[in-house]
């Protein structure tokens, strides 16, 4: 009886340890292709969307991340929504992306765009985009701006303040 109980316990522990990383993974990071992302770049309403294309290996992206985090915190109660689109390789989600998110306690929504034929979709994000990271799209029903540049807090806040629909 005791042995059976022990065996069952081991089974449960094993099962949990197998599921645990899977659970963390599915809860936090959604992987999409461009077709799945595109509708979110075309929303046309009162909310101002800030979509930032970045990756953990991109130094200027990491540098500007606190500015996006701060804007996210400040405008939480307003009609502003942030989406961080990571171009990290899928095989690096657990080894690089999740540790980065945890380390910097990033609170905006983060998804991974996994669509290697970039030539097919870069133009659809913006004809102005060369493909270099970071790149940011800011839009609502009255405004659409594309920025292939590194942001600091003041510049980002200025654009949001100018265009937010109150």
């Amino acid at each position: 009886m005791f042995i059976v109980l022990c065996l069952n316990m081991i089974r449960v522990v094993l099962l949990l340890s197998l599921l645990w990383p899977l659970n963390v993974f599915s809860q936090n990071i959604v992987v999409v292709n461009f077709e799945q992302l595109q509708p979110r770049l075309q929303i046309n309403n009162d909310t101002t969307y800030i979509v930032n294309f970045w990756a953990t290996w991109c130094q200027p992206c990491i540098k500007e991340m606190p500015a996006f985090e701060q804007i996210h915190q400040e405008y939480k109660s307003k009609k502003v929504k942030l989406l961080l689109v990571s171009l990290d390789f899928v095989k690096h989600i657990e080894s690089r992306l999740i540790p980065f998110i945890e380390k910097f306690r990033l609170s905006p929504e983060i998804i991974v765009l996994n669509d290697p034929d970039a030539n097919a979709w870069i133009e659809k994000v913006s004809p102005e985009w060369s493909g270099a990271l970071p790149a940011t799209l800011i839009f609502n029903k009255n405004f659409r701006g594309f920025y292939e540049q590194e942001f600091d807090y003041t510049t980002l806040k200025h654009i949001v303040e100018l265009n937010i629909i109150k």
Binding site: Q59, P116, N119, W129, S130, G131, A132, L133
Partner: protein, 200 residues
Amino acid sequence: MKTKLITLIFPFLFVTFSMAQGYVVGDKATDFKLKNVNGNYVSMADYPDAKGFIVIFTCNHCPFSVAYEDRIIALDKKFKPLGFPVIAINPNDPELQPEDGFEEMKVRAREKGFTFPYLLDEGQKVYPVYGASRTPHVFLLRKEKTNLEVMYIGAIDDNYQDESAVTNKYVENAVNAVLAGQKPEPDFTKAIGCTIKKKN
């Protein structure tokens, strides 16, 4: 006085502007003289027999560049004998990206067994003239006498992650087209890449 000042300043404004734009397909490219990992300086004029060049702005640190290293070696091995050697140029400022320093470039070239020159864009004067905006970024040039014409600008192929899933080998097709006396189709593609590291 005011007009004088404007006439003085205007040409400079124009030069800066046109430099930042970089090349489009059909433009004439300029030669360069940059230091190779073996210590020698390399120019395209050093290749009297070449029919053209596959100039690739790439570097050590960028994951996209790393993902393409083997494919760049394969391009050189395939097309050097046909008159289109690869010339790789690291456009990054090593002070901002220490992994892309000259010593680190030597190490990487040795480790990977690069079959082509790997040059440092010292002073970052070459990449803005070409209009490279990221790594890797390819400029295919066709040589006619002393003229170097830009034939293709863009990505190496259409899948950075998985070579076996590539459906369009842009650069390979472009070189084959030029070898056959045709215009590459497409002659311009975009790709995700690492921004070139430059002091503001």
